[in-house]
Amino acid sequence: MKFLPYILRNVMRNKLRAIFTGMSIAVSLFLVTVLYAYINVQDETGEKTKQFARIVVTAKQGLTFPVPIAHVDKVRALSGVEAAVPLSWFGGKYQDEKIPFGQFATDPEQINTVLSEYDVKPAELAAFKADRGGCLVGSRAAEQRNWKVGDNIVLKGDIYPVTLELTINGIFTSESSTDQLESLWFHFTYLDELLKKDRSRQAGNAGTIFVKAASPDNLGDLMDRINETFKHTDAPVRAVTEQAFRQMFTEMLGNVQAYIRNVALAVVISLMLVAGNAMAMSMRERTREVAVLKAIGFTRFIVLSLVLVEAILIAMIGGAVGVLGAKLLFAMRDIVFRGIPGISGFYVPWSTVIFGMALAAMIGLFSGIVPAWRAAQVSVVDGLRKVV
């Protein structure tokens, strides 16, 4: 637009004010972006897993109830099932770490078929299959603890009163997913034998069963059949899509979402006031200039538009700094947040970026509307009146 250079000059006419207003918006929208990204990442990750056509089977009463290991074979026997493995959360203590990382007892034969997005060197996978006391670790888990293939590690049981001594047979990575990269997979049979030796009642618990369907169609039908298979046994199950399974964890956070929304709302309103105030101050200094423009022949509409665009521009530039800054920061999380667990899966999805920019535009619009209207209403005669 040909008026753009003029508008830009006005944006920068008071550099300090423009920078401060912009920074105010940038910082606050950075925060809002991160908060919303938190919610949206869960959704997006959930969406992404759709392509793998996986079903998660838990005990009907909930995640913490046992699923008999024998169920796994029965699931495998169903038509439409390509592979199925137990994935039992061991939750052991590694050295001094306070928060247990993902340690899963599973079936080495089919684990890579079910969790197909992870890449392991064939030799390492073979070694893992052959070594009952062996394990595969995710690339990030290895990075964080300086593990190498061949290292021995010890996991002290918390849920299960046993100690696991494992050898790292291999390290797996992935190009598409970071979900399991901080985890460790070991033989279910190894854990089970230790438990059986103690005659523990906890033996034989598969925890959850991850099922890979042969095709993404008719997942609903397969889930029904799985449920039906065990309905009248001692251990009925509930089968849900992997997406739904993940959503359960977000749901557990409950009102945190409401809290985030309220904080975001407060922030946005606050910014409208802040930016509006800055715009009003700027326009107060320009009453005469506006009068001159109108004398020259700028219509009310043009004057209103110029001011409104100026307000929106400031808001969107500030917004871009904050929103894109957030995206960039978390894109570089490996460098910035090195060593902090759990953050590897976190990023700012583009949908959140767009949302943030839309907020910025809205802030600009609402902050500019009153000053723009008042500028349009300026009386030329009064505005040109000589001071002396």
């Binding site: 000059r9 004398a295 020259i296 005669v381 000589k386």
Partner: protein, 239 residues
């Protein structure tokens, strides 16, 4: 003496203007008639409160007469709506103010270009017009300077270039030399005279300054809202 045979650029008939102050009407102009033909250069003088600025505002279409008609370049201003009037102004008038009133954030070039942004000229066409206007006022080399980098006289010349750039029918000047020292004032009046004589621009100038007024072709005195003409003085002073 301007040629009355030439078409009138400004025609006022029975024009009165009164303002309301606390519900009491205060008359500023009383039943005024005025004719300004093409090519005329009129200086309007009078004590403060005499209505000079009001007269200018009415001719410019910045204000509306209480009674009577104001016709400029054949257009009766009373017939136009607010937005049409604004657009009409951009095509037909050029303004020169006492306080120059340049946009501080724009360069001289960009200030002069401002009225052209309201037209549909292309960027190149606009630049041409601006350069021509700046040449006329003699400030091409300073086209990229900001107002704060110019002297008072130079600022006023940029303002004049801005007033010229859309080739207006009428130039309105409100105390153009009011803020200038005598040297700069002289330069400005030289320029205005040149515009009137060489370029045939019609100029209506409100001023306090008798030396500036004497450069015009005609002098009109406003006293308490009515005219008292004294053109003889003007001619005398110039000859």
């Amino acid at each position: 003496m301007p040629d009355p045979a030439r078409p009138a650029v400004v025609e006022l008939r029975g024009v009165s203007k009164e303002y309301m102050r606390d519900k009491t009407p205060v008359p500023v102009l009383k039943d005024t008639d005025l004719d300004i033909p093409q090519g005329d250069f009129v200086a309007v003088m009078g004590p403060s409160g005499s209505g000079k600025s009001t007269l200018l505002n009415l001719v410019a279409g910045l204000d509306r007469a209480t009674t009577g008609t104001v016709t400029v370049a054949g257009q009766e201003l009373g017939e136009l709506s607010e937005s049409k009037l604004t657009r009409w102004r951009s095509h037909h008038l050029g303004f020169i103010f006492q306080l120059y009133n340049l946009m501080p954030v724009l360069t001289a070039f960009e200030n002069v270009e401002l009225p052209l942004l309201l037209t549909s000229l292309s960027r190149r066409e606009r630049a041409e017009h601006v350069r021509t206007a700046l040449k006329i006022v003699g400030l091409q080399e300073r086209h990229d300077h900001f107002p704060r980098q110019l002297s008072g006289g130079q600022e006023q010349r940029v303002a004049i270039a801005r007033a010229l750039v859309n080739d207006p029918v009428l130039l309105l000047a409100d105390e153009p030399t009011g803020n200038l020292d005598s040297t700069a004032a002289q330069e400005i009046m030289d320029l205005l005279q040149q515009l009137n004589e060489e370029f045939d621009k019609t100029i209506v100038m409100v001023t306090h300054d008798p030396r500036a007024a004497r450069r015009a072709r005609r002098m009109l005195h406003l006293e308490k809202g009515t005219f008292v003409e004294t053109e003889v003085d003007a001619l005398e002073a110039r000859r």
